[in-house]
Every structure is written in structure tokens, then in C-alpha cells.
């Protein structure tokens, strides 16, 4: 248990040691960014849009009881920008990206591809781990921007359908309900989420046990662990932000 913790610590520490020093694997980073960011966009956009619609629709009745459906845009805004946008993006990405990183690195470990890089005097950590963690850390926030926008548009569609609110009013209320702190917090959170997804996937894959079973296990545990950590981080960030907001 403690050995595992020490190994996790060493693994993360190695990232910070290696990320700033050359050689930089630009080509691989771009490739991973493409995989993580661009290729996830359709899935995440559709999901975000649906969540925007569903969340808005499901929130309406409770506001209707107070005759306060005009507060709907503000409610959606706070919910999506503060929590749903970053979290949903991260969860979908951990399912799509985290598992594939775990599986890919796991199979590379099992078929000795990582050793092959090592003996060809290429730093496999830099080539595989740093590039992937960088890609998730940069792309998850970018995806979060898209998800948030698309979710808000989904919310707008639903509000427009039932309350005939114009898009200008809708977005006015959306921005009225949030503060700079919300945007900063969400951005920081999504960076953290991206880092977590990449790190967990790489760690599980990099230290995957031998055999095909090891690959499956690496893919599976990277998703489960990443999702668990995402929620823990969400909780911690929420507490920190509330503490800041309170001051």
C-alpha cells in the first residue's frame, strides 16, 4: 500500500521533472491532442447538448411551484458553468480517453514496446506519459469550454420553447448569475480533471501487469480510479471555492 503510494508519488514527480526539459515530443503531443480533443468533440458536444436540455426541463417544475421560471436561465447558468460542464466533460473523457490510454500503454507494456523504447535510448516516459498527460491537461479544459457553451445552448433551446425567452435575455441572465470566480474555478477544475485523467490512465497502463488480462485491467481501473478521483477533486475544489467566496 505504502509502496504503491510511493510509486504514484514518484510517477507524478517524474512528470514535473521531465515536462520542462527537452527533447520535446511535439509531434506526439499534437497527435495526442488530436485524439483526446478533436476526436472527443462530437461525443461530448452531443452529450452536453442533451444534458443542457434535460437539466433545464427537469429543473422547471420546482421553479414553477414558486412561479419563478424566469429564474431558470440563472439556475442553468450556475449549474452548468460551476459543476455540470467540467464534470460531465471529465467523466465522458475519462470513459473515452482514460480507458484508451490505460489500454494502449498497458498493451505496450505487455508486448515490451515500452522496453523497446527504453533500449533504443528514447525516454518512454517522456514520449508516452508526458505527451498524453499534457494532451489531456490541455484538451479537457478546451472541451469543457465547448461542452459548457453547447449545454447552455441546449438549455436555451428548452427555455425558449417553454418561456419564449430571447437569446439575448437568456445570455444576459446567464452571465448575471455567475462571477469571475466561477469561471476561474471551472477552468482550474477542468485543468485538474484533465491532469488526473491523463495521469491515472498512464500510471495504470505503464505499470500494467503482464498478459492480456493486465491490459483489460489497466483500462478498467484507469476509468474507475479516474472517475472516483474526479468526484473527490470536485468536492475539494467546491470547498476551497466556497471558502474563497466567503471571504
Amino acid at each position: 500500500m505504502f509502496l504503491e503510494l510511493a510509486r504514484v508519488y514518484a510517477f507524478i514527480a517524474r512528470f514535473w521533472r521531465e515536462v520542462f526539459f527537452p527533447p520535446y515530443e511535439f509531434k506526439e503531443i499534437i497527435k495526442q491532442c488530436y485524439e483526446v480533443g478533436v476526436r472527443s468533440l462530437p461525443l461530448i458536444s452531443v452529450t452536453g447538448f442533451i444534458i443542457g436540455i434535460v437539466f433545464t426541463n427537469q429543473s422547471r417544475p420546482s421553479l414553477q411551484d414558486f412561479g419563478a421560471t424566469s429564474l431558470l436561465p440563472a439556475l442553468i447558468s450556475v449549474a452548468i458553468i460551476r459543476a455540470i460542464g467540467p464534470l460531465v466533460t471529465a467523466i465522458i473523457a475519462s470513459g473515452r480517453v482514460g480507458s484508451s490510454i490505460g489500454a494502449e500503454l498497458g498493451s505496450m507494456r505487455v508486448t515490451e514496446q515500452i522496453d523497446a523504447m527504453e533500449v533504443s535510448a528514447t525516454n518512454p516516459y517522456k514520449f508516452l506519459v508526458v505527451s498524453r498527460v499534457l494532451a489531456t491537461t490541455l484538451m479537457i479544459p478546451a472541451l469543457t469550454m465547448y461542452t459548457t457553451l453547447v449545454s447552455l445552448l441546449g438549455g436555451y433551446l428548452n427555455v425558449h420553447q417553454f418561456e419564449q425567452t430571447t437569446i439575448v435575455t437568456f445570455f444576459y441572465q446567464v452571465f448575471d448569475a455567475i462571477t469571475f470566480l466561477d469561471i476561474i474555478a471551472s477552468s482550474v477544475k477542468s485543468v485538474l480533471f484533465g491532469f488526473t485523467i491523463g495521469m491515472v490512465g498512464c500510471y495504470k497502463g505503464y505499470y500494467s501487469s503482464k498478459g492480456t488480462e493486465g491490459v483489460g485491467k489497466a483500462a478498467n481501473t484507469s476509468v474507475v480510479t479516474a472517475m472516483f478521483l474526479l468526484f473527490v477533486e470536485e468536492l475539494i475544489v467546491m470547498q476551497v471555492i466556497n471558502a474563497i467566496r466567503g471571504i
Binding site: Q113, D115, A116, V119, S120
Partner: protein, 259 residues
Amino acid sequence: MLEKVRNPNIDTSKKVIYIRGLRKAFDENVILKGVDLDLYKGENLVVLGRSGTGKSVLIKIISGLLSADTGEVNVLGQDVCCITRKELDALRLKIGFSFQNSALYDSMTVKENLEFPLVRHSKHMTEQERDKLIDTVLDAVGLRQSINQMPAELSGGQRKRIGIARTLILRPEIMLYDEPTAGLDPITCIEINNLINEVQERFNTSSIIITHDLTCARAVGDRVAMLLDGEFKREGTFDEVFDTNDKRVQAFYNYNFID
């Protein structure tokens, strides 16, 4: 059965690998008890042994993938255990490692696989020079037509050749082959054996070939060493090694040629 014609270029005055008293254990399980090994320049040394006797561990220690518990491991004049990361990387460029499963990078084409070590270590090279070198090594392994294929599209034998080509591209002085013929049909085995000998002649490499395949051992080994109980029990030419009363060595020979 093909017999190895001893390579005339072997220089027994130069030891490229020199190992004394190598010991390696995983937890309680002692794999290598005290291995002494010399590899002379230009020589093909075959290490025989049953599965789990620590053959792979031995070459992984030589290439620095694993570290020895005790003992001296000297490769090309450098002690592998006690050099910096940078020195180790420089040393590794001189060692070619052919993995049991070829270990081709699945996400890259054959060309990208071959380029992979090149672009990182020969930065001064122009693209034309690189392409030319790739063609040369692909010619050497006889797979020029596969340049734009993905590893998944290749057969086991082809993968093995590309794996060897990838290590050759950096012009190594030492080649380490991990089970080069495992899982291949007899004809492909012979092709691979021939390739190993060709590489030895053409690129003037010194090689350690890990195998439990006696056909292969006889075909490529200038010298054969038998690993038993974590030590080299028998050493010499192929015939010398099996000219013994040791039951286990006899058994190893008999079971290999049972058919």
C-alpha cells in the same frame, strides 16, 4: 541440420561484454546465482536454457532494463550498474535489442517504426539520408515492400525482421536477440537464423542469442552456453556442450529432438 560455420572475424582478444558474479533475485526467488560471461568481438553466443531460468533477465540486465543485485556487468568498457542516465542512453545506442514479440510500435507504420530511433538520435540527418538508410536496412531484412504497412498487417516472421531492422538502423555493435525463433514455423525459423548470421557478417556485430531452440542454436552459435540453476554449467561449441553425462543436459537435447 544446418551447422554454423565459425565466423572468421572473431577477435578473442577483445571482450565486448564481461560479466562476473552476476546475481539477481526477485523477492525470495533467486534467478541468477552467479553468472560469469564473456562475449568476444564478432562472436555469436547462444544462451540456452529452459523457460524461467533467467535468460531474458540476463540480457535485460545487459541492456540496463533491469539492474543486478551484485556482480560486475561491463559492456563496451562501461559498468552498466554505475553509469549516469545519459551515459546509459549513449551505451544503449550501441546495443540492438530484438524482443521476443518484436515489440513494434502498433500505432506507427513500418517506416515510422524505423524512423523512431533515427529522428531522436541522428538529428543532423536529412530526410533523404534517413530514407536511404531505411531502405538499406529494409533490404537487409528483405522487406522493402512493407514500408508503409502497419505492424498489425505483418506476419510473425515479418514483424521479427522489422524488429531486427529497427535495431540495425542505429548500427549497433552488440545485438541481443530474445527468443528470435519462438512461435515461428520451421521455414521462417531458418530464414531468421540466416538473417542473424547475415547481420553478424554484414554489420560486424557481436551477438547474444537467447533461445531454447537447438536448431537455431546450432545454426547461429559460434559458441553455446547452457544456463542451469542460475549458472552457466556448460560452455563451448554446440557439440561440446552436449557431449556430457549430465542428465538434465541430455534431457534438454533429447526433448528438443523428440520428433
